[in-house]
């Protein structure tokens, strides 16, 4: 019974969220407030990135402190071809996903040999390397970043130069990514990942080569985040190494925790809370970082399940 009520509350919330997201452009169109559309665009892209991080962090227990690298790699895979006048959308997306996957494969193969804090720090180290790597390539703007003049071109399929089209493109991407992640976590593969988080030694002793499964999971997460990066590049029309700063990776972790680890919609809640808080608090006071930081500590101390946990709690209480 308990499970059923929780399920319906969750489904209700999910349906409401996506209905709102679906009709938002009409509202912003009517009120002539394109800024909110931008805000939600950013939110949805970050939600995809956070969801991919949740796959390894929440489900797999791999605390990557360098996930922002894939956002950057994905974005540069849009920016660099665009710089040479290549705006072929499918090609750019393919590049973004492939480059992220290869990067994840190489670094993951090394990182996953370490455990605990060593893992946290080595993932961070690799991202710092990419960060400084892009800083040093002056051709693509170095520290200053690169302006993307033209967004990805998907031919007659959809023209994302238009902000509303871009919005729906991102929304559908979000839905597809969440669905994919949902499927993966429920599959045999997903169970192996979950089991490896819970007790890796036992998983090996019953016959799983956990290292390889975790590595593949790490690569999948990287690919999805690389895709989010490609969207981000298109959305901001601008990329800079700053996107891969260690604080950016920290923010992604924050979104996952704030939303609630290991739950499907958690990262969406987390990204939404993050973007909205940032926007709202910074308009409130110059010292908004203080409130933000205090909130972060509160979440860790008092709300371990994150927003998703609160929803579950409410669902249970109602019954």
């Amino acid at each position: 019974m308990e499970k059923a009520t929780r399920f319906t509350l969750r489904v209700k919330i999910t349906v409401v969220i996506f209905l709102v997201l679906f009709f938002l452009p009409i509202y912003t169109g009517l009120t002539d407030n394109g800024f909110y559309l931008d805000l939600v665009n950013r939110l949805m892209i970050l939600a995809i990135a956070a969801a991919s991080l949740n796959l390894i962090l929440g489900h797999g227990g791999m605390i990557s402190f360098g996930h922002a690298a894939y956002l950057g790699i994905g974005a540069y895979c849009v920016g660099i071809p665009a710089y040479y006048g290549v705006d072929n959308g499918p090609l750019q997306i393919f590049l973004a996903v492939a480059a992220s996957g290869i990067f994840a494969l190489i670094t993951g193969a090394i990182c996953l040999r370490t455990k605990g804090v060593y893992f946290i720090m080595i993932t961070m180290a690799f991202t710092q390397m990419v960060f400084f790597g892009f800083v040093s390539v002056e051709e693509y703007g170095g520290d200053d970043g690169l302006v993307i003049d033209t967004r990805s071109n998907f031919g007659s399929f959809i023209n994302i130069e238009d902000n509303i089209n871009l919005y729906y493109f991102i929304l559908i991407s979000l839905i597809i990514c969440l669905f994919l992640i949902h499927k993966i976590t429920k599959s045999r593969f997903g169970l192996v990942i979950e089991g490896s988080r819970s007790n890796e030694q036992r998983m090996r002793s019953i016959g799983f080569d956990t290292y390889r499964y975790r590595l593949i999971c790490y690569v999948i997460a990287g690919c999805i985040c690389g895709y989010a990066g490609a969207l981000l590049g298109n959305f901001t029309n601008f990329i800079s190494p700053e996107m891969m700063d260690w604080a950016a990776s920290g923010e992604l972790i924050f979104m996952v925790i704030l939303g609630g680890t290991g739950s499907l919609l958690g990262p969406v809640f987390g990204a939404a809370a993050f973007v909205i808080l940032e926007e709202w608090l910074s308009s409130l006071t110059l010292y908004w970082h203080f409130i933000f930081g205090a909130l972060l500590i509160m979440v860790v101390l008092f709300a371990r399940g994150g927003i998703s946990g609160i929803v579950t709690y409410l669902g249970n209480r109602k019954q």
């Binding site: 452009p25 009409i26 912003t28 169109g29 009517l30 002539d32 407030n33 394109g34 800024f35 909110y36 931008d38 950013r42 800083v135 002056e138 703007g141 170095g142 520290d143 200053d144 970043g145 302006v147 003049d149 959809i158 238009d162 509303i164 089209n165 729906y168 901001t236 029309n237 601008f238 800079s240 700053e242 996107m243 700063d245 604080a247 910074s282 110059l286 970082h289």
Partner: protein, 394 residues
């Protein structure tokens, strides 16, 4: 599906009709308020507020609505804030911008939306050249100009060899390119140091190299707080008196009070070049400097001077069209004339909307009250136009 939704949305917008007639001039001002670089932003915001006060809060009969946004020293945030100003606040002018990379990231958002973009400091070569735009104006300079003046000054002084240090970002590279273009002697060494978030502030290794190079002069560009840090280490390393310091945008009224407090006498008499100085002799500048000192109890920096000019430039545009803000062409034409009292005196705009102006040599001196400031020495470049203007198809 999307098309339909879009149509719906546009229909909605049309139903409401064109935006209600403006009774305010909305000016968005993007600068850095948080992070250590916030000290520059503070100077700019103070100057803009002073300017708005000095014009009685009105231009062309319209009230001035000033919206300040913090870019957090990050290009991405700067762009986001520009988007917000354009889309949410629907400003008429987007101004400010300390940093070249923030301006580069943000310019498309403002210009594509048909807004005027006025840089109160940053002058990256791209925007002076191939990215120039009819709705972009600068109240400062193109990055290369000031160091070019410095190159000229070095030639005049007969300096034979030079060591260059600058941060590794757009403006830093422009600055070093500028001085290299004009300087006739030998560049014996050059260091571009880490900038942005986590900028390098300890220059021990670089200063040791400069010392070992045996250069006759050291040229630096370290804006904001890095400037103070550099000068201190320059003195601590014992270079003062051995390798004279030539700087641009480094020793300013933000760094000087701190240097004075730290008793860094070595900076006295060091040379720099600039388009403006607090003691520049014209009515508008006297009014500005004395007003600023009265209101805030300190000398204004050049950042402040440019920001002050920004408001007067906008005022000249709004007044030319009698407050009819929909007359974009009229306002543009008015701004092109540079017909406003500038703290730098009379100047004109080039085809790329960067000022064609004089550059002076300046020296660090102590004023009548014993406060350290800078004084104009002589004109180094007269009515100088930047070299990128020819790349601008406008």
């Amino acid at each position: 599906m999307f098309r339909k939704l879009m149509l719906l949305a546009t229909a909605g917008m049309l139903a409401i009709g064109p935006a209600v007639a403006a009774d305010k001039v909305k000016i968005g001002f993007v600068t850095t308020i948080t992070t250590p670089a916030g000290v520059i932003g503070k100077d700019m915001v103070d100057a803009v507020n002073l300017a708005v006060k000095d014009i009685g809060g009105k231009m062309g009969g319209l009230e001035v609505d000033l919206i300040i946004e913090d870019d957090g020293f990050k290009p991405a945030i700067g762009k986001q804030k520009t988007d917000k100003l354009v889309k949410q606040n629907d400003v008429d002018f987007v101004a400010g911008f300390i940093w070249s990379h923030v301006l580069l990231a943000s310019q498309k958002s403002a210009l594509d939306a048909g807004k005027f973009l006025i840089s109160s400091n940053a002058g990256p070569s791209q925007i002076a050249g191939k990215l120039c735009h009819k709705n972009f104006f600068s109240t400062s300079w193109q990055n290369d100009q000031t160091p070019m003046a410095m190159g000229q000054l070095l030639n005049q002084k007969g300096v034979k060899s030079l060591y260059i240090m600058a941060p590794n970002y757009a403006a830093g590279k422009d600055m070093s390119a500028g001085v290299e273009r004009v300087f006739k002697g030998k560049i014996v060494g050059k260091d571009l140091t880490k900038w942005g978030k986590g900028a390098q502030l300890d220059f021990s290794a670089e200063l040791a190299k400069a010392k070992a190079s045996g250069a006759e002069g050291i040229f630096v560009f370290y804006p904001g707080k890095a400037g103070g840090a550099f000068i201190k280490q320059y003195a601590q390393a014992g270079l003062q008196g051995k390798i004279p310091l030539y700087s641009v945008f480094t020793v300013d009224s933000i760094a000087l009070p701190k240097l004075q407090k730290a008793k860094m006498n070595g900076v006295m008499g060091s040379m720099m070049t600039q388009f403006w100085a607090p003691d520049l002799d014209n009515a508008q500048n006297k009014k500005f400097v004395s007003g600023f000192k009265k209101a805030y109890g300190r000398y204004p920096s050049f950042y402040a001077a440019q920001s002050y000019d920004t408001i007067f430039l906008i005022k000249s545009a709004v007044e030319a069209v009698n407050g009819n803000l929909s007359d974009v062409n009229g306002m543009r034409a008015a701004m092109k004339k540079a017909n406003f009292p500038s703290v730098r005196g009379k100047f004109s705009y080039g085809n790329n909307h960067f000022p064609i102006q004089n550059f002076y040599s300046r020296e660090v001196v102590s004023d009548a009250d014993g406060v350290w400031t800078t004084a104009v020495r002589k004109v180094v470049l007269e009515n100088h136009q930047d070299t990128y203007a020819k790349n601008c198809k406008m």
